[in-house]
Symmetry: D2
Subunit: 121 residues, 4 copies
Amino acid sequence: MNRLIDTTGLQSAIEDFARPRNWDQFHSPKNLAMALTGEVGELVEIFQWLTEAQSREAMADPARAVHIHEELADVTIYLVRLASVLGVDLDAAVRDKLAKNAQKYPPPSVSFTYPQREGNT
Amino acid sequence: MNRLIDTTGLQSAIEDFARPRNWDQFHSPKNLAMALTGEVGELVEIFQWLTEAQSREAMADPARAVHIHEELADVTIYLVRLASVLGVDLDAAVRDKLAKNAQKYPPPSVSFTYPQREGNT
Amino acid sequence: MNRLIDTTGLQSAIEDFARPRNWDQFHSPKNLAMALTGEVGELVEIFQWLTEAQSREAMADPARAVHIHEELADVTIYLVRLASVLGVDLDAAVRDKLAKNAQKYPPPSVSFTYPQREGNT
Amino acid sequence: MNRLIDTTGLQSAIEDFARPRNWDQFHSPKNLAMALTGEVGELVEIFQWLTEAQSREAMADPARAVHIHEELADVTIYLVRLASVLGVDLDAAVRDKLAKNAQKYPPPSVSFTYPQREGNT
């Protein structure tokens, strides 16, 4: 079965980067969760004063596109590292979660459809 | 060349989940960045009162392991969704970032080694 | 001179609460910064799927108003506690910052006015 | 009765700053919650690689002390602004919350004391 997400290459690349720099000592789950927070904060700052419509066009600005690229990379790196030091298989985790979500939010049917949102989208 | 991270399966799975539920209208980058924040907040809460040493053993507690699993999944899902609606290739993004990091933090050499941390690890 | 912000009462109330419960041992700045993150995450979740216009009316819904009240309280309590254990005078801190902001963002003049935002407000 | 927290001065100062700069249009609760997140992220970054013990001494380093001062100010400013645009009285909010906490975490008694934490503090 194909994986929904495969992070094995990145996991190894981070390990190979961290080990010779003696960074394993800093990479406790507690610290990595904090680092993840910090990077997500930097990502959020990019969008905070934009309207939703502007945020949908955010990549059209070349400087902002570079910035978004970089912050998404930082978040991804810390997330994969955190899962790795905890020994969590992200593929299994997202499969379990999507299955739960499918029960929590049943697919629309003849008698029920999800509503259109009012106002700006 | 092998990818460091491959999220194509998850990206499709989320699209297939969101579309029939009319959720595309809510999934602006602005909103998804907020949702990512919220999930990271829930992840951080798991570790906030633990010592670093305790955080390294966090998965040994079965109930906590389930909780961590779920929160990591939520963060992963929103991160991949956010990259997807922005059209960002996370594999390219992390490659660029790791290359930058390699320049910013040169590998240790005969004349320079990264220090051991004092105190608890 | 009047204070811009006075948190002395809350600071004492939290100390009186934490001490008999042996919570000082948990209230390191590192841990409190994490706890602050978690509470801000819960606050952000309230607004993540709302439009900006809807967020301006968020208190009109009684259940949501209670929720907002509570999350703002949690954020405030951890922020004041964090400043307190660090020995930071929040009144002095915000005065310094407002003075810096006044230099960074000069008041509008005949030759320069701040623009109206396009799109939804 | 004395207030536990009084933010009226800061609230006015922010209003007087925002109005001539046409910033009210940006200061929706949704946007301010995001801005608060970003600033908390910057605060967390200061502590992420420190041990808890090091975080308790964080103000001893003059450069770091300035940084902490500034980030705490930013968080405070956005928090007070957010409460203000929502019309939330932070003093009432924290009173309600402390009363709830007193019920949730009863004071220690002869038969029950809160435990000492193991490991590093």
